[in-house]
């Protein structure tokens, strides 16, 4: 009789104390978690976190100059998401091959800012001039120095894109000709 009473009392005590005892892997993770509904204090903490971390969704500041020194094989960053970039390697014609000519063309658009660039290398003396044609229209010239030269046109920093290059994203064919009009390099985006 005494044993039965004790056993009942113990069983009752176990039943009553069960929910209060933490169990491994249980769902009671303490304050601030679970579906406790909206709370002002947690919202404030979240706001603080948002203020402290950079806002990747804002995108690049169009007024800041581009970082041209970053390596091309860098990991894609959110800040670069808005940059549209196209590059084409130019092919040498027989005339170009005779002077070891090589080059590449690049278009870059970030927001309203546009840039078109052509780089040329050739085994020719300083001062040799090449004319760059884009889709059949002259876009500028390159004067060689130490075997290389480049043309860069853009629509910012006080510069105006030559007619026919705006928008640069529609540029297709790029040709580089000698000062006398002989085709040296060509390529298409």
């Amino acid at each position: 009789m005494r044993i039965t009473t004790w056993m009942l009392a113990l069983a009752l005590a176990l039943v009553l104390s069960g929910p209060a005892a933490p169990s491994p892997g249980g769902e009671n993770r303490g304050p601030g978690s679970g579906s406790q509904g909206p709370g002002k204090s947690d919202d404030k903490n979240d706001d603080k976190k948002d203020d402290q971390k950079p806002d990747d969704n804002r995108g690049p500041d169009p007024d800041k100059p581009e970082d041209n020194n970053r390596p091309d094989d860098r990991a894609p960053a959110a800040a670069d998401a808005a940059v549209e970039r196209r590059i084409v390697m130019l092919t040498a014609t027989p005339t170009g091959a005779a002077i070891d000519a090589s080059g590449k063309a690049e278009t870059r658009v970030r927001g309203a800012r546009q840039r078109f660039k052509v780089e040329v290398e050739a085994r020719l003396p300083d001062g040799v001039v090449f004319v760059v044609e884009v889709d059949g229209r002259p876009a500028g010239s390159i004067t060689l120095m130490a075997g290389e030269g480049e043309l860069e046109v853009k629509n910012f920093d006080g510069m105006v894109l030559p007619a026919g290059l705006d928008p640069v994203s529609t540029i297709r064919r790029v040709r580089v000709l000698s000062a006398l009009g002989v085709l040296v390099l060509e390529g298409s985006f």
């Binding site: 003396p125 001062g127 001039v129 004319v131 500028g140 060689l144 105006v160 030559p162 007619a163 290059l165």
Partner: protein, 131 residues
């Protein structure tokens, strides 16, 4: 004896002449003449060459009633030497050999520049002139 001295004097004279020719100073300015295409766009322009000692400069400035971004090719003695992109109705090509810069082959030396022409993107002559 006189013959040797005479040869030396002659050699020095030739050397001086060659030096003078290599470092010939010049300063010329011309107004460019518009073609019918140039007249249609109210184009006008002027070109200037200047050399003093080893310093050389070429400048061609032009006005035209065309849209911003209109591009012209400048040729000297038949060779392309640069381009001009018009902004607010004017533009210029200003080239020199200061601070290690290199003059385009068709402009070096600037004192030997003769025929000048400015052509539009379609290859039409717009302005021309001769020093």
């Amino acid at each position: 004896m006189f013959g040797t001295r005479g040869t030396k004097i002659a050699a020095i004279g030739v050397g001086l002449l060659m030096t003078a020719s290599a470092w010939a100073d010049c300063r010329r300015k011309i107004s460019l003449i518009p073609s019918s295409v140039g007249i249609a766009t109210d184009s006008s322009g002027a070109a200037e060459v200047r050399a003093q000692g080893s310093q050389q400069r070429f400048k061609l400035s032009m006005d035209a009633r065309v849209a911003d971004g209109t591009l012209y090719v400048v040729r000297a003695n038949g060779m392309a030497v640069g381009t001009i992109t018009v902004t607010l109705g004017d533009g210029e090509l200003d080239l020199n050999n200061n601070n290690g810069k290199v003059l385009p082959a068709g402009l070096n030396p600037v004192c030997s520049v003769g025929q000048l022409s400015v052509t539009d993107a379609a290859g039409n002559s717009v302005l021309s002139g001769s020093f």
